[in-house]
Symmetry: C2
Subunit: 405 residues, 2 copies
């Protein structure tokens, strides 16, 4: 009976991609979308392979067409064809023959044309000013420009941001691949700032405005969601980035894709209440919000309130930072547990975060989650300091325009 069943099954069913045929080869593919949602044409496949070639070159550096073919699994013929297109478009250049001596025909090295395009990145998340930079394809910052915000909101703030982009575009003679913007607040995938109270923006079509003004591809996302892209470029795991500044926000990448959330408000953890014992009153009216514990200005104010002359000032400062870290750990523990995260990154003022606070967060996470499951959890400070949003904006443009990161 069972043999009959399996015979019919084997005849009637063609296995889907990713799951080989035959006994024991069928696996549940976790990366496959559950439901196909739109058709795929050959040109889409080609675009994917095009990005794949660029990706290999981007991460592994100059190499021959044959090398790329081996790494991608495509044939040399196909790679040559794709590369020919990409050279014609100016995205790839030939660098000359490989130097080292090997048997066989010498290889012609190719690479992404790293000088062919620049990227404009802008960070609107700082409270006091907008910052921006011209960035090359490798994420190096080539030129900077800032503008003091001076409390500007609404259209005035938009004008400041637009002008900042204009000034940055004037700083380069190289074609610009695109403009990436990290904005505070809730930003939808079409680049509409749904709500950014600090800037007085609501339903502002920032992407459309800038795209029309400058005639360039524009990508806009929440600042923390942008920042996590910069961090993700270095690793491949699921990643949570907590950005602590004037407010507290997070960016999240799961399975290689940014999490946006049902209302495009993923990562908005600043007003989640921490613990069951009250806490400082928050601007939102609640008590014990994460932001009330952890926002940089509030934390700094609490530290400043301590009289340096007092005999135990140092230990009080330490206790304050430690408590803030503990509160962060309390909020993160359920998230780390539910998502089984292996990597959490902190981003913000180093003098506040990197020390007692960081330690306390680690300790709290350890004691409040199942050690067995989260054994290899890493909690670390970002190494990108001030420029993380700018670099993330560049990654966002690279990813959106070339499918590379």
């Amino acid at each position: 009976m069972t043999t009959q069943v399996q015979r019919s099954q084997a005849d009637g069913f063609r296995p889907s991609p990713g799951s080989g045929a035959g006994v024991g080869a069928t696996i549940y593919p976790p990366t496959r979308a559950l439901r196909p949602t739109s058709k795929v044409l050959p040109e889409h496949a080609r675009n994917h392979n095009r990005s794949l070639v660029l990706q290999v070159l981007y991460t592994s550096g100059p190499q021959s067409r044959a090398d790329v073919a081996r790494e991608t699994g495509l044939t040399r013929v196909t790679v040559s064809d794709l590369v020919a297109d990409l050279i014609a478009e100016g995205l790839i250049v030939e660098l000359g023959q490989r130097a080292d001596a090997r048997p066989g025909k010498p290889a012609m090295l190719i690479d992404i044309h790293r000088d062919a395009f620049h990227i404009v990145g802008v960070d609107l998340s700082e409270h006091r000013r907008f910052t921006g930079a011209v960035i090359d394809l490798d994420g190096r910052i080539l030129a900077r420009a800032d503008v003091e915000r001076d409390g500007a909101t609404g259209d005035a703030a938009l004008a400041l941001a637009t002008d900042l982009v204009r000034r940055l575009l004037e700083r380069t003679d190289t074609p610009v691949l695109g403009i990436g913007i990290g904005s505070p607040g809730v930003v939808d995938p079409l680049g509409v700032v749904r709500s950014a109270p600090n800037l007085g923006w609501s339903d502002l079509a920032l992407q459309a405005h800038l795209a029309e003004t400058f005639g360039l591809p524009v990508h806009v996302a929440n600042d923390a969601n942008v920042a996590v892209l910069a961090e993700h470029a270095a690793s491949d795991d699921d990643l949570l980035l907590v950005k602590i500044g004037h407010g507290v926000g997070a960016g999240l990448i799961i399975g290689g894709r940014p999490v946006v959330g049902s209302g495009f408000a993923a990562g908005e953890i600043g007003h989640v209440v921490v613990g069951t014992d009250g806490g400082p009153r928050c601007a939102c009216g609640k008590h014990g919000c994460l932001e009330a514990w952890l926002a940089a200005p509030r934390l700094a104010a609490r530290l400043d309130a301590i009289d340096d002359a007092a005999p135990d000032a140092a230990s009080v400062r330490d206790a304050i930072l430690r408590e803030a870290g503990r509160r962060l750990g309390i909020v993160l523990a359920p998230v780390v547990g539910a998502l089984n995260l292996s990597e959490v990154v902190l981003c913000g003022p180093t003098h506040l975060l990197d020390g007692a606070l960081h330690e306390a967060t680690v300790d709290t996470l350890r004691t409040r989650t199942m050690a067995e499951h989260n054994r290899d959890l890493r909690l670390r400070m970002t190494e990108q300091a001030e420029d993380i949003v700018l670099r993330g904006a560049a990654v966002m443009v690279l990813s959106g325009q070339l499918g590379v990161s």
Copy 2:
């Protein structure tokens, strides 16, 4: 200057799929994988479109080839070609001409051959017994079989499960599309049970064992992760399912894809500590774990301890359930906030969960998250009761084998 820049850019760059060319058309595609990881061949595209046709029929029911073409965006020619293949494989059948009178040639209705295959689903998560069922493609349960576990662990438990599958396979004469298993513990994507303390399993290659034994496609995943598939079949949003039974676990679908976690332990929230005021001692040694508050046996025991004769027994019961619900809300709040979830589903004993506990969880979530961002959050009981894991197992097989759900 800027005009020059944009001209070169427009010439040199071909927009990637999903982002149209030209001003304002470029969007940041949130569903695109950041980095292409493997090549895509035409046959992969065809398989995708094949699944797309099946998906449309599966969800929308019998219709003509032309209807499918309109809904998928593929041409009638391509749909006819795909359908011809699928009919040859026995996955689609022609049902005869459409009855209603319309101008033009009458349509030949086609549908997924819903009687051609059955699915075997098994739930290993109950403490006292293993349950299983033969399920049709629409998720209807056609036959059941159970086996008392009687404390069996290790190889004995494996033998019980294997025998249960064998008995289920004997209950149907229809070809079996595949076997789906929901197991407690941590299960990796290859169907290896990395760790299931209750069953005494560690690194047990359950998928491989069953596939070899029965010569059928087998899919294994954690019980809560399986259950959430059943729930997801009804909606399309991000979804968190909390499964409360002997333990407490969760399953999570984000962006249409199950979250697995870095150690394949996503959803293991049972041993996250809740609140900052201690709590009952847990089997794991910590105090105030979610499981210590909420696991069905412990909750029931606390309720049973109340003397029914006592004057205020009812209100004490209520307080206990309410407190448990509050604890659940406290743990979920950071997760809901970080992921901006719109839908959370509870699954477990209705008499415990659906009442004061549920209400308290909703209240707690409301007061501990930002109402503005999570306005449309729904927290509800599952409607699938006992069979959710069995139905989820069927969805897992459907999804894995046909790309349909």
